[in-house]
């Protein structure tokens, strides 16, 4: 039986132009690459979730309200905007990439976006529980200058002595009632804490311990603490001196 004209001319053209089918592994690889990129984006969303949870949970909402600051302002400063933006951005990118996988076009936005968000948040929470949120946040702050500067508003919430809030690392200890701290911006403060409530009696005040305090200014670089929170392993207010000017030695009172 003769092959009809249409197929003849097309087969002849395939032969004349030496057209070959593309290799199967190329299609497989392309689809696998899309899945890999999509997965990485979901994972970045998860990391953003972990860090955001860490940042929100290490804010002292209860302790702060005892100070004379503006809670709304504090709350606004405390929100992890950077990581919320990263989360939203990477979820949208993940959706875009996954939609271009072999069968991805079959998924509606209503199916894909909640799934991606759900997976990101679940994995993110697990990462937070494993301490990854804190580890990455701290590492970024120490090694990525831009990131550290982004956090200054968050840290500055605890460098507001005129509003009754002060935080830093103990660098000198006369007694448990009188000690010197250095804040994140490199300032030294002499703290009187004789009548203060120490939150968390299990932790002992010592040099290199980090403290957060509610109280009031008594003199230039002098602070009387009413409440002292000792949290040696927690650094919501960053590492002392990280964003500092060179510390100036001062005498109090």
């Amino acid at each position: 039986m003769d092959t009809p004209t249409n197929s003849n001319s097309i087969i002849e053209r395939i032969a004349a132009e030496h057209i070959q089918p593309k290799k199967a592994w190329g299609f497989w690889f392309g689809n696998a690459a899309l899945w890999a990129v999509g997965t990485v984006m979901v994972f970045v969303g998860a990391i953003a979730t972990a860090i955001a949870i860490h940042m929100v949970r290490t804010q002292d909402w209860g302790l702060f309200s005892q100070g004379s600051g503006n809670l709304a302002e504090f709350a606004i400063k405390s929100l992890p905007y950077f990581w919320i933006i990263i989360f939203v951005l990477f979820i949208l990118l993940a959706e875009l990439v996954l939609r271009h996988t072999k069968r991805g076009y079959r998924w509606t936005i209503g199916m894909l976006v909640p799934s991606v968000i759900g997976i990101s948040i679940m994995v993110g929470y697990c990462a937070y529980a494993l301490g990854l949120g804190k580890t990455i946040d701290t590492s970024l702050e120490e090694h990525v200058g831009v990131y550290g500067r982004l956090l200054v508003p968050r840290h500055s919430a605890w460098i507001a002595p005129d509003h009754g809030r002060l935080a830093g690392k103990v660098i000198g200890l006369d007694t448990s009632a009188r000690f010197t701290i250095i804040t994140i911006d490199g300032q030294q403060w002499l703290v009187e804490a004789g009548s203060a409530d120490f939150v968390d009696d299990d932790d002992v005040l010592a040099v290199n311990v980090r403290v957060r305090m509610i109280g009031h200014v008594t003199a230039s670089h002098g602070f009387r603490a009413d409440v002292v929170l000792i949290q040696p392993d927690d650094e919501p207010f960053g590492r002392p001196g990280l964003h500092s000017r060179p510390p100036l030695p001062r005498e109090r009172e």
Binding site: N6, S7, I10, I11, P21, K23, R103, R106, T108
Partner: protein, 197 residues
């Protein structure tokens, strides 16, 4: 060749990777259908449509290893044909407009009952002017109506051809029918038939 004729489309795709005779059988099965489809969704000449369909087969041959066996071959080749048509129009920076379309009575009645028109009068209008009515629609609406009512594709097949979720196909089809209703209602001959709303 008879042994190849007995194979399904999907079996022929696999066989085409080994011998071109199998690919020729696929061409013979679908070539005319694809030509009519390309003509219906565009306003090009038969010769240009033939060129597009040839390019479709060349693209299909190149991408044989990318054929998703979960799809029907029909959906896959229609998808390539549509993409080739759109691609040609992008090169020419021209909006694709439809050519003459004919509906058989059964499909015409199905379309008529799916849109809100007076059967006696507007069925006749639809039949006589379906080509120009569809030509006035945007390409996405025209294509989905042609795939559903002329090519008689299912929602699932249309979703695979257009690479959209089935829900989106349903929405597109709904909007396409509403646009068609409006065009019928405002068509000059609509009043000639004495139809009143």
């Amino acid at each position: 060749m008879d042994d190849l004729q007995a194979l399904t489309d999907e079996e022929l795709v696999d066989a085409s990777l080994l011998e071109q005779r199998a690919f020729a059988v696929l061409i013979d099965r679908y070539h005319s259908r694809l030509q009519r489809f390309v003509l219906r969704i565009s306003n090009i000449s038969s010769e240009e449509a033939e060129d597009i369909v040839q390019d479709t087969w060349i693209a299909a041959y190149r991408n044989l290893n990318g054929f998703d066996s979960k799809l029907s071959f029909s959906s896959w080749i229609y998808r390539i044909a549509r993409n080739q048509t759109i691609s040609q129009y992008r090169k020419r920076s021209v909006r694709p407009q439809g050519n003459s379309v004919e509906l058989d009575d059964e499909l015409l009645n199905t379309l008529a009952s799916d849109i809100s028109i007076n059967h006696t009068i507007d069925n006749q209008l639809l039949k006589e002017h379906i080509g120009e009515l569809l030509a006035d629609l945007d390409e996405k609406y025209r294509t989905v109506l042609i795939l559903k009512y002329v090519e008689d594709k299912t929602y699932s097949e249309i979703a695979d051809i257009l690479k959209k979720p089935e829900g989106t196909v349903a929405t597109l089809l709904n909007r396409a029918k509403k646009r068609l209703e409006k065009l019928i209602a405002t068509h000059p001959t609509h009043h000639h038939y004495g139809h009143t709303d």
